[in-house]
Symmetry: C2
Subunit: 103 residues, 2 copies
Amino acid sequence: MESKTSYKEKKVISIGVMSELTGLSVRQIRYYEERKLLFPERSKGGNRKYSFSDVELLMEIANEMEDGVQTFDIRQKRMKKEKEQTRKKMLKGQINAQFGIRK
Amino acid sequence: MESKTSYKEKKVISIGVMSELTGLSVRQIRYYEERKLLFPERSKGGNRKYSFSDVELLMEIANEMEDGVQTFDIRQKRMKKEKEQTRKKMLKGQINAQFGIRK
DNA sequence: CGTGTAAGGAATTCTGACACG
DNA sequence: CGTGTAAGGAATTCTGACACG
């Protein structure tokens, strides 16, 4: 089991580039973070850094916003999706515990 | 045939992040560019932007520098490799022209 | 609620140059 | 040749706030 630092997940993109890539204003991007939809890392100096994965996420968010969905509901939906995945992983873990790792 | 904008080639990384990722100083990174080893894009404001591919390239360069190879020779070698690949593509193109695209 | 904007400040980056070796 | 550094300036980003709706 290793660190799997795929390029897609690496947080290296500034908010300015992010803005260009998504077509959203920096104001919008910061706001979606405030609403807990996005979680950039920070440089020592405090600057936001995003991943390509974040770019994709942000574009999905933009689509939902266009459909008139509120940030709260977008977040709600994402949290459910998150939970669903955690549940699946737990299940998989249990199966491994019972049948996989037996020594 | 499409624009194939893979994340790896997309120029989005600032020189500061580049420095962190490679462990080289920004001075070194700029110098290698001056010696034609590296070709970042520029933002409107003039800031350098690199790709993950550039990160890999830069780390290879760093290795060669450690071995005492001079920038000129590194460049020389890279240009040869470049030519080799162009040659292969040309060949492939010719083959396509003769046997592939026939109508 | 979601977004624009002006404000003041800090972090980041840029270039050209001098230094050392 | 390759790299550090101080210098002056410009571009980028940050936060908190006011505005509009």
